[in-house]
């Protein structure tokens, strides 16, 4: 299985972002997804900057994929979409059906995690249009994935979101600007002040969700490490790690160590425990509410027996 670094979901200052991807050049990761997927107002990096980063990562031996914005509303959004889908240098991850329209039957593409592929007929259709990889929806359980992979189309890779705060919802409204009583059109780029998003707590002070501009994330961190061997057996090809403000490198190293057999899952989990920005969760994988944390070792053992 290969390791992938998902698109950066937060809005960091330009220099921070450039330094981050300079670090990635030598990090143990095979595939890197690049580009702004959340909000068209974010402009610290333009498409030309992303393409320059892409070229450096490719020169460092990485497979580079350009990710399109998930919510495309305006004519200007469509124009940016066209620029990405018409590029001839890098593969594209389609994050809405408009993007699929631009890529279908023209060039192989990645079907992103927000396309709502919940069943085999839809996956087969995307494959027939040129999808070379698909990213499983966050909500999908291991058992449903197993059903689909039993009859998956040939030459179609499967990617699973194994680490990070989960991007659960998208809106036209900016919740970070709302928090500051600012309209979105004059947001003052508030989200830049929250490199791991802005925590929303219940009135019992339980960490619940994370506001990331127009995107809402889980406060808990999806962590599927003990499940990697199960994924391998199922036929998963790629594991997605979502970038965070600090210690992304250590997270990548931990997954890499498990894949190479240098560490077992428990050791790796121990080694990164302090780097999670929130509590761990794995509920979706086991068909439970996403925020739940099940005893992975026990679950995996039970699955093996079944």
């Amino acid at each position: 299985m290969k390791l992938a670094l998902g698109p950066l979901l937060y809005y960091w200052p330009r220099d921070t972002t450039l330094a981050f991807y300079a670090m990635v050049e030598s990090a143990p990761v095979d595939i890197v997804y690049l580009g702004e997927t959340v909000c068209s107002r974010r402009h610290e990096l333009r498409l030309s900057d992303w393409l320059a980063i892409a070229a450096r990562l490719r020169a460092a031996g990485k497979e580079v994929v350009l990710s399109t914005q998930v919510l495309i509303e305006s004519g200007a959004d469509v124009t940016v979409l066209h620029k990405i889908t018409r590029n001839t240098d890098f593969r594209v991850e389609a994050n809405d059906m408009g993007a699929v329209h631009c890529l279908a039957s023209k060039t192989p593409f990645v079907a992103g995690p927000h396309l709502n592929v919940y069943n085999l007929p839809t996956l087969q259709w995307l494959s027939s249009l040129g999808a070379m990889r698909w990213v499983m929806p966050l909500e999908m359980s291991r058992d449903d994935l197993a059903l689909i992979l039993r009859e998956r189309p040939a030459n179609l890779q499967t990617e699973v979101f194994v680490y990070g705060r989960m991007p659960l919802a998208f809106s036209a409204r900016c919740f970070t600007a709302r928090h500051r009583n600012l309209p979105k059109d004059d947001c003052q780029f508030s989200c830049m002040d929250y490199p791991d998003g802005l925590l929303m707590r219940t009135r019992e002070d339980e960490s619940f969700l994370v506001l990331n501009g127009t995107q809402t994330q889980s406060a808990r961190v999806q962590l599927l490490l003990a499940e990697l061997s199960d994924m391998h057996v199922l036929g998963v090809d790629v594991l997605r790690i979502s970038p965070q403000a600090t210690h992304t490198l250590e997270i990548l190293q931990a997954f890499d160590a498990v894949l190479k057999g240098n560490q077992n899952a428990a050791q790796a989990q121990q080694s990164i425990a302090a780097y999670l920005p929130g509590e761990a969760c794995n509920g979706y994988w086991y068909g439970k509410p996403g925020l739940e944390q099940l005893d992975s070792i026990k679950q995996v053992a039970q699955a093996a027996l079944a």
């Binding site: 709502n116 989960m166 409204r173 979105k184 707590r201 509410p289």
Partner: protein
């Protein structure tokens, strides 16, 4: 411009038809539609009766099959398509491409509408479904401003339906997994959001609390109106701000005042939300909107939303208040 009204039961369907709906949309009694609530929706007999009632009066019936077939039981959704086609409905409302492919192949004469759950917010997406599955109409997610709706209409041959009134999703429809994160069930997978079985009400010394699978969604002071704990409409703490509607207030979308513009830009249909609401709600809302559309079509230049319409709609609105939502730019 068609008025498309909700029906969660046969009495609601009759109320909508009697008060002037051009189309009534409904769902089967299972997870194939996005209002999968106990005691709601239609079995075979009720659908047959409902279609006969509507067709006898020259109205249409649309069936929503707008959740995503789950890996293990795609057959349930296929059989729902077959049943809808056999019952003589005027169109099915779908979100899943695999299901559209099935409908197109098995029932080539069945009219297809792209559900709001398909998250198609731009012309590239809508035209894609048109080219591949021949969809006749697309329902727009409630995220576009008026200018954006107009721009989109200029670039698609597909009829466009927009939401006119009802409870408001602040998230893009089809792009929200918050409910499954908390409860394990969400619109895409189970046709529910913040499902009743996960709701607990508790009286505590701090006030009346609503919980969703144990997570505190809201707490009400004595005398305060308590709303259904839809998880994005609760009060939370962010930074130093305590106890505010961090995502969205309980409120209803109401676009009555935008009718002349929607008509002029070529919107084909106005959708009313609320299959989970009572026949009385359906009757009230349909009556107001019928009158408003007729008034607007007769003389769009002199149209204005009558205060009595707004008052009677506010009475049945969630949170007893209304908003123009994303159609009005500052809402974002």
């Amino acid at each position: 411009m068609e008025l498309v009204c909700p029906a969660g039961s046969l009495p609601a369907l009759k109320a909508a038809v009697d008060e002037g709906a051009d189309c009534v949309y409904l769902g089967f009694r299972d997870a194939t539609n996005a209002r999968n609530f106990a005691g709601l929706n239609f079995d075979e007999a009720a659908i047959t009766t409902g279609i006969a009632y509507a067709h006898a009066r020259g109205r249409k019936v649309l069936v929503a099959l707008n959740t995503y077939p789950q890996a293990g039981n795609v057959q349930t959704w296929h059989s729902a398509i077959d049943r809808a086609a056999a019952s003589g409905v005027d169109a099915v409302i779908l979100a899943d491409p695999g299901l559209m492919g099935y409908a197109q192949k098995q029932h080539p004469n069945l009219r297809l509408h792209l559900s709001v759950q398909g998250s198609a917010t731009n012309y590239e997406a809508i035209n894609f479904y048109y080219e591949h599955f021949g969809i006749s109409r697309a329902v727009l997610p409630r995220v576009l401003s008026m200018v954006q709706v107009e721009q989109l209409l200029e670039k698609t041959p597909v009829e466009i339906e927009v939401f006119g009134f009802g409870s408001l999703c602040v998230m893009v429809e089809g792009r929200c997994a918050l409910s499954s994160y908390v409860t394990g069930e969400a619109p895409n997978t189970h046709g529910v959001c913040s499902p009743p079985k996960a709701v607990r009400w508790q009286e505590t010394p701090l006030g009346r609390e609503s919980r969703l699978n144990g997570v505190l969604i809201d707490r009400y002071a004595p005398g305060e109106n308590a709303g259904y704990p839809t998880l994005c409409k609760g009060r939370f703490d962010v930074g130093d701000d305590h106890n505010y509607y961090a995502v969205e207030e309980p409120t209803s979308l109401n676009t009555l005042e935008l009718l002349p513009q929607l008509l002029a830009m070529g919107v084909s249909a106005i959708k009313i939300e609320g299959r989970q609401r009572s026949p009385a709600y359906v009757a009230q809302v349909t009556k107001v909107w019928r009158e408003a559309i007729d008034t607007c079509v007769a003389n769009p230049h002199r149209y204005s939303a009558k205060p009595i319409w707004m008052t009677s709609l506010d009475k049945v609105a969630e949170g007893q208040q209304h908003t123009l939502g994303a159609y009005h730019r500052p809402w974002k």
